[in-house]
């Protein structure tokens, strides 16, 4: 096999001008070392799946001239005999922080400099090539040691971090290194403390911020264009370089490269892409295998780290208790992430990013190969795939003639041999040695004799790994242990000492010798000062082919040898009590002979049946019959209630429940950041909870938009959301909103004003847009402001107001303010002093969502009474209980039980955790009672639902049995079994 460039191309390459690609003038003499190399006798992997044995690769002026088995070294070439070596195309690190700044000590001094965005987190104008510092020598060397010859440098500061560049990892100036610039705009979804600013502070805030920034990009471009067309009479709009730099992203010409930190964030980013119409690249997290179903159709470039976790600590035995099943599973399964993705047809490129030690990169890739990734796929992820992503596939990615001479020289097969190591890399035709040859191994048995007449005769036995050796010297006078023996340096030099008695001299004999494969040339000093030249020849102990001690280069624990794979069930979420599939939804379910609390017009029915069809309640009544094939449950002696509803929890929100940076943040949405990896969902099911209203925190007078969920344990986050639920927003009053130093408001007075002013601003915003749309649309267009849009929606009654409040005065304030704007406060949450203004609440039409008995944890909570719910109920206020606490949400029936002592009837008490709670979450039409056509969310209790002696036995959501006390027992055993198996595996692999 022989591959040659077309002749004409060869001639071009040979032309003298071809080497002249730099502008730097030469100081002193020119340096022109031979630029023609022939790498011969090598196994050459031209591209994944195409290998030539015993072949030659010719490099001329930094470019591959020819490659093949029948290629001869040109006469002007320097010849490198690479017998036993494998050549691969230079690897591409598709995501690297090499040469990038991670700290910005001058951030304060830079504040306000330049025509930039109001928020310092937008550094979109930064260019990786401009940012790159070639001083980062250790990192460059480390990357080359793993075979990398090109890296895509990604700026590291801020959220919008700037444009990435593909840079060569060889030598030269930055200008020499740039392969391609402006590849993608980099984004991460968390605020970088290094660059400052106060917003956003949460993951949901970050998503809202990205939306607004991209809308601002549109507006800025339109406003500037309008102004430039006709500036007369218009106020000059800002000229913003940060937004200007985002135009290619907004127009879909430049990809947005988003760094994701878990697979759920990745799915969030995909949704954002669909919403905003972006061209997307993704840096993965390593957990993608947990979301394989959702990623099967992934259509965005994926850059995958191989940051496999270290084995969790499981000793002493007590310490192992603190290892979660999720952690143990991830330790075991993370190395299968690349293989599983590849098997699912998902393409990806590798990155060394996120590795604590870059030197472990290839070990981990090999580990991935040992756990299911085909070697060709691994190689593709290092070469042709990233080359294509970066748009450098015409010059990089394979060892075909005409491509850049970037070559990885490996001793052995990189993906199959545990101890294969990169020996050298060629970058743009320049050779970088990675691992200097270690020289001959002195282990073995040697016959020693002096060159002169001195008494230095005997047999030297050496063993051990360098640099430390042990051994003996056997002379005519006997055998003696070496008191010192070590080997160091290249060429290797052994140092030996032993007591001289065996040679008939008193004192220590010191010897030193230069080791080659078959011989040691030595010199020594005897105790009496005589100096002796000696020589040793090998008697036995043939060294490895090149003498390199194997132990030195054996892979660490991440090596391919590690890992007898354990067949773990594939569960969602990938943690304790996860399940392999959602519970089935039978066509018909009939629960028989129970005491059924319908919480609807039918009231409580004894010896009654509940009939469910395809997830919905059909009937409650006595003596119902079910079609054949129905799931029939005998609930004699048991009680059945609707699934419990909690109108106020914060469970399952990732990345913070408050965005505290700004006082008014209704543009933020809790629904953007829900997680399925929330053990509380299961625990809450176990306590009969089936729906909840998940709220933004209470740090803002106007906080973010809330979300409704069902406890569909095992469903992806997006599917937890209750379809068709109304939009609701969180307001907050009192201590929590005023305690943030340096942020308006500091008082309840200011709280009223800041809400009022924003309501007013929103009215004016709406009017401005109406005018623009009605008018001729000349001049500067209004800016689209998502915060104002959300406020307009609130003012127009499209979003329910749910206000956190404690004191009566602040509740009265908000009601009166709302009334001025023609609004009704849907519900006050906590409403700790609600009992003091029951009539006023009732007249306004606000509901109250309260605790059973919380008290005295702060000043505004001191006037508490367990009679709060009772008094509100008596005043005609629609009242329910809430938990505001994940644990309490898992036993809301007991919270309702507490009301009995205050004189609330059983029906009213249970209503406060079912139908009233559902109504106060705005979802009373779907859940909260067992009535025809409502969702089949119900609980089978062991006894009276308000008794302390009772527990939930089954919890059904949408007509599926999500919790079953019998299944729970099996799951416990499964959790314990898997933990035990994984811990055994950790012990075995040490």
């Amino acid at each position: 096999m022989r591959i040659r460039l077309p002749l004409i191309l060869c001639l071009l390459l040979l032309a003298p001008g071809a080497a002249q690609t730099q502008t730097t003038p030469v100081e002193g003499l020119r340096e022109n070392p031979p630029a023609v190399h022939a790498l011969t006798n090598a196994r050459i992997v031209i591209e994944p799946g195409r290998t030539v044995e015993n072949a030659t690769l010719v490099i001329r002026n930094g470019v591959i001239e020819s490659v093949g088995a029948d290629v001869n070294a040109p006469p002007d070439a320097r010849v490198w005999d690479l017998t036993g070596r494998t050549l691969y195309a230079g690897f591409i690190d598709a995501y690297s922080e090499v040469g990038m700044r991670t700290e910005l000590p001058e951030a304060d001094a830079e504040a306000g400099r330049g025509a930039v965005y109001w928020n310092p987190q937008v550094r979109s104008f930064v260019d990786a090539a401009a940012e790159f510092s070639p001083e980062d020598d250790d990192a460059l060397r480390a990357l080359r040691s793993q075979g990398f010859t090109v890296a895509m440098a990604v700026p590291q500061l801020g959220m919008f971090r700037g444009r990435t560049s593909a840079l060569s990892l060889g030598g030269g100036t930055v200008a020499d290194r740039v392969v391609r610039s402006g590849l993608a705009q980099s984004l991460t979804l968390s605020r970088d403390r290094e660059v400052g600013g106060t917003y956003p502070t949460s993951s949901m805030g970050a998503i809202a911020f990205v939306r607004q920034t991209l809308h601002d990009t549109d507006w800025h471009a339109r406003a500037r264009a309008a102004y430039e067309r006709d500036p007369r009479g218009a106020r000059r709009p800002e000229s913003n370089d940060a937004l200007r730099a985002l135009v290619p992203v907004r127009e879909g010409r430049q990809p947005l490269l988003v760094e994701t930190h878990n697979e759920e964030e990745l799915l969030r980013v995909l949704r954002l892409r669909d919403e905003l119409g972006l061209q997307l690249w993704l840096r993965g997290s390593g957990g993608e295998y947990r979301m394989l179903e959702q990623l099967r159709a992934l259509d965005a470039p994926l850059i995958l780290p191989v940051n496999f976790p270290d084995a969790p600590t499981v000793e002493p035995v007590e310490e192992a208790l603190n290892r979660s099943l999720a952690e143990l599973r991830h330790w075991h399964l993370a190395p299968e992430n690349p293989g599983r993705l590849a098997a699912a047809g998902v393409e990806f490129a590798f990155t060394s990013h996120q590795l604590r030690d870059r030197g472990r990169f290839l070990d981990n890739v090999r580990h991935a190969v040992s756990r299911g990734l085909a070697p060709e796929q691994a190689l593709a992820a290092l070469t042709i795939v990233p080359a294509r992503y970066l748009g450098v596939e015409r010059t990089h990615g394979t060892l075909e003639p005409g491509k850049v001479a970037s070559v990885v020289v490996v001793e052995g097969d990189l993906f199959r041999d545990d101890d294969a190591a990169v020996e050298a890399v060629w970058v743009d035709g320049e050779r970088f040695e990675v691992r200097p040859p270690v020289g001959a191994d002195p282990q073995g048995v040697w016959a020693v004799s002096a060159l002169g007449a001195e008494p230095l005769e005997g047999e030297l036995r050496l063993e051990g790994t360098r640099p430390r050796l042990t051994g003996t010297f056997i002379a005519p006078g006997g055998e003696v242990r070496l008191t010192r023996a070590r080997v160091a340096g290249d060429p290797p030099r052994v140092e030996i000492s032993f007591p001289g008695e065996v040679l008939g001299v008193e004192g220590t004999v010191r010897m030193s010798g230069r080791v080659t494969r078959e011989e040691i040339q030595g010199w020594s000093e005897l105790p009496d000062g005589r100096r002796v030249s000696w020589r040793a020849t090998r008697v036995e102990g043939e060294p490895a082919s090149d003498g390199a001690p194997r132990a030195e280069r054996a892979a660490g624990s991440g090596g391919a040898a590690a890992g007898t794979a354990l067949a773990l069930s594939d569960i969602r979420p990938a943690m304790e009590f996860g399940r392999e599939r959602l519970p089935e939804r039978p066509d018909h379910v009939l629960v028989r002979n129970a005491t059924v609390w319908t919480m609807g017009p039918q009231g409580v029915l004894e010896n009654a049946d509940l009939l469910v069809r395809r997830g919905q309640v059909i009937r409650v009544g006595q003596g119902l019959s079910a079609p054949s094939g129905a799931v029939v449950i005998d609930a004699t002696g048991k009680h059945v209630t609707p699934g419990l509803v909690d109108p106020h929890i914060h469970s399952g929100v990732s990345g913070g429940v408050n965005d505290v940076g700004n006082a008014i943040v209704p543009e933020v949405r809790v629904g953007d950041v829900m997680t399925m990896n929330n053990i509380w969902t299961y625990r809450q099911l176990a306590g009969g909870l089936t729906s909840a209203h998940v709220l933004h925190g209470s740090a803002n007078p106007i906080g973010g938009e809330n979300v409704h969920v069902k406890m569909r344990w095992g469903a992806p986050a997006e599917e937890l959301k209750l379809e068709g639920a109304p939009r609701t927003v969180k307001f907050a009053l009192g201590e929590n909103v005023k305690r943030r130093t340096g942020r308006y408001p500091d008082t309840r007075m200011g709280t009223e004003q800041v809400i009022r002013d924003h309501f007013q601003a929103a009215r004016e915003y709406e009017a401005a847009w109406r005018e623009w749309e009605r008018g001729r649309q000349r001049g500067i267009p209004p800016r689209r402001d998502l915060r104002m849009e959300a406020l307009v929606d609130i003012l127009n009654g499209h979003v329910q107001i749910h206000a956190h409040a404690y004191r009566q005065d602040e509740m009265l304030m908000l009601m009166r303010l709302a009334e001025e704007f023609g609004l009704t406060v849907f519900a006050f949450h906590h409403a700790l002093e609600g009992f003091k203004i029951g009539p006023e609440l009732a007249r306004h039409g606000a509901g109250a969502v309260v605790w059973s008995d919380w008290s005295s944890f702060k000043v505004e909570a001191y006037d508490a009474t367990v009679y709060n719910a009772r008094l509100l109920n008596d005043a005609g206020v629609l009242t329910s209980l809430h938990s505001d606490n994940s644990q309490i949400a898992s036993r809301m029936n007991w919270e309702a039980g507490k009301l009995l002592r205050t004189g609330v009837s059983e029906d009213d008490a249970l209503a406060m955790v079912t139908i009233n709670a559902a109504r106060l979450a705005g979802i009373g039409d779907r859940v909260g009672s067992l009535e025809p056509d409502k969702d089949a969310d119900f609980v089978i209790w062991s006894g009276h639902p308000l008794s302390t002696m009772t527990r939930a036995e089954q919890t059904w959501v949408d007509g599926r049995r999500y919790f079953d006390i019998e299944e729970d027992r099996r799951l416990r055993q499964q959790v314990e079994r898997e933990r035990a198996q994984l811990i055994q595996l950790i012990l075995n692999e040490r």
Binding site: S855, L871, E906, S947, T948
Partner: protein, 438 residues
């Protein structure tokens, strides 16, 4: 099929008079007025008496005089001159004991001035909870209404926090209210999650105990010749095993190490918290180390543990033969939840009588106050409640309590709010009617 016994609150029982008086004269929220000492014998007749120590007596009679129970039984004669109270259809239980609380030392969260829990520095064995007990705390009355009649109030700071005191929930001042001033020395076992700090913390404890021991010896050897060290001097009763050390320890390693340490020091140990106690129930039982469980209505310690890990812990300890009490979460404002903590344990496997014992006699025994409280026997304090049913059940109403024979005013702060704003409701609905029909 309603298992709940809905009994209308009885207007009877002399509280009525006092309440009416207060309603007439006290428009603002007031601390309840402590009752005078018992003036004449009282006989509660006809109720079901749950003695805890001696079983249940149906239609029994319980007599108390001068604050002490004098007779309990099915056929006890009512003494001449005694006030006879008919409690037919009602239940009599001993007062519940909250075995770990910040009652009296905590009023409002977030306000340093209203909290007296953490003294400065790591070693405060000499500070005593009872002398700082706020007798007019709002939380006292609220807890009483739940049947919690004795609280063990404890400081919480540093490594050695100070001395806990058993307090009765009625009286004009802490002196009257103290059942026993020094029932346990509170120790916070270091956190095992930082090995260096953990080792250092344990070493500090050992050093302090060694110094205390040396101090006792020096004092005994040279009476008056050794300057006083208040901290070390306070350790005498602990080293002499008169006062147990109550070690807060939830993690398995903490419990293990605290047991070894206590054995080494030769002191009496009580484990407080005990979230991981189920893992070494056998060792706790075998070494007879009692446990005050901090909360039943709480989360599993770890994601992989079953959802009911905390709920079922009392049942598991009971099965293993561990001596334990259920103490609740220690917050003064939530002491009223103590019965529900014990009740949850019943739902998850603890026999109902054991659950009752875990909040009455068990804590009394563990803290050495069982000669006063925790059961209904002659000679014990007349600290008891009259209820409509099992006090651990949500639907049960505690109608009247007696503390050391004093008949307690049941109008706690919550009840006073209720009455006050019921009045507002009345006024506003009257107003509305007027508006509607002028």
């Amino acid at each position: 099929m309603r298992i709940l016994n809905r009994v209308r609150p009885v207007p009877a029982l002399c509280a009525g008079l006092l309440a009416a008086l207060m309603l007439a004269t006290a428009p603002s929220l007031e601390a309840q007025i402590p009752a005078p000492p018992q003036a004449r014998p009282v006989a509660l007749v006809g109720g079901t008496i749950h003695t805890v120590s001696q079983g249940v007596i149906e239609r029994g009679t319980l007599v108390f005089e001068e604050g002490r129970i004098t007779a309990v039984g099915a056929d006890v004669a009512v003494p001449a001159g005694a006030e006879r109270v008919d409690v037919t259809g009602r239940h009599i239980y001993p007062g519940l004991i909250d075995a770990h609380s910040n009652m009296g030392l905590f009023e409002i969260g977030g306000i340093d001035q209203a909290i007296d829990l953490n003294e400065l520095g790591p070693f405060n064995p000499n500070v005593r909870a009872h002398v700082a007990f706020h007798p007019a705390s709002r939380h006292i009355g609220v807890a009483r209404s739940s049947g919690v009649l004795v609280t063990v109030s404890a400081p919480t700071g540093g490594l050695i926090s100070g001395l806990a005191a058993a307090m009765m929930m009625e009286g004009w001042n802490w002196e009257q209210m103290t059942v026993a001033p020094e029932v346990g020395l509170m120790v916070n076992w270091p956190s095992p999650f930082n090995q260096r700090l953990y080792t250092r913390g344990i070493r500090q404890l050992r050093d302090f105990f060694a110094a205390a021991r040396a101090y006792q010896v020096a004092h005994a050897a040279t009476p008056g010749g050794h300057a006083t060290d208040a901290r070390l001097a306070a350790m005498g009763p602990v080293l002499d095993r008169q006062v147990p050390v109550v070690v807060s320890a939830n993690e398995l390693r903490q419990i293990q190490d605290a047991m070894d340490w206590a054995a080494d020091e030769g002191i009496r140990l009580v484990i407080l918290g005990g979230r991981d106690a189920g893992f070494i129930a056998d060792e706790l039982a075998q070494r007879d180390v009692p446990v005050l469980l901090s909360s039943v209505l709480t989360s599993p310690n770890r994601a992989w543990e079953p959802y009911d890990a905390a709920y079922s812990l009392p049942a598991r300890l009971h099965q293993a033969g561990v001596r334990f009490a259920i103490a609740g979460g220690s917050a003064a404002a939530y002491a009223n939840r103590l019965p529900y903590e014990a009740g949850a344990a019943i739902a998850f496997g603890l026999p109902a009588d054991e659950a009752l014992r875990a909040v009455t006699l068990r804590p009394a025994q563990i803290l050495g106050i069982d000669h006063r409280v925790g059961s209904l026997e002659p000679g014990r304090d007349a600290t008891l409640m009259i209820t409509t049913g099992n006090p651990l059940e949500y639907s049960t109403v505690v109608e009247q309590v007696y503390i050391a024979g004093r008949q307690v005013d049941m109008r706690d702060a919550h009840r006073q709010f209720f009455e006050r704003y019921q009045e507002k409701l009345r006024q506003f609905s009257a107003e509305e009617e007027q508006v509607v029909s002028p």
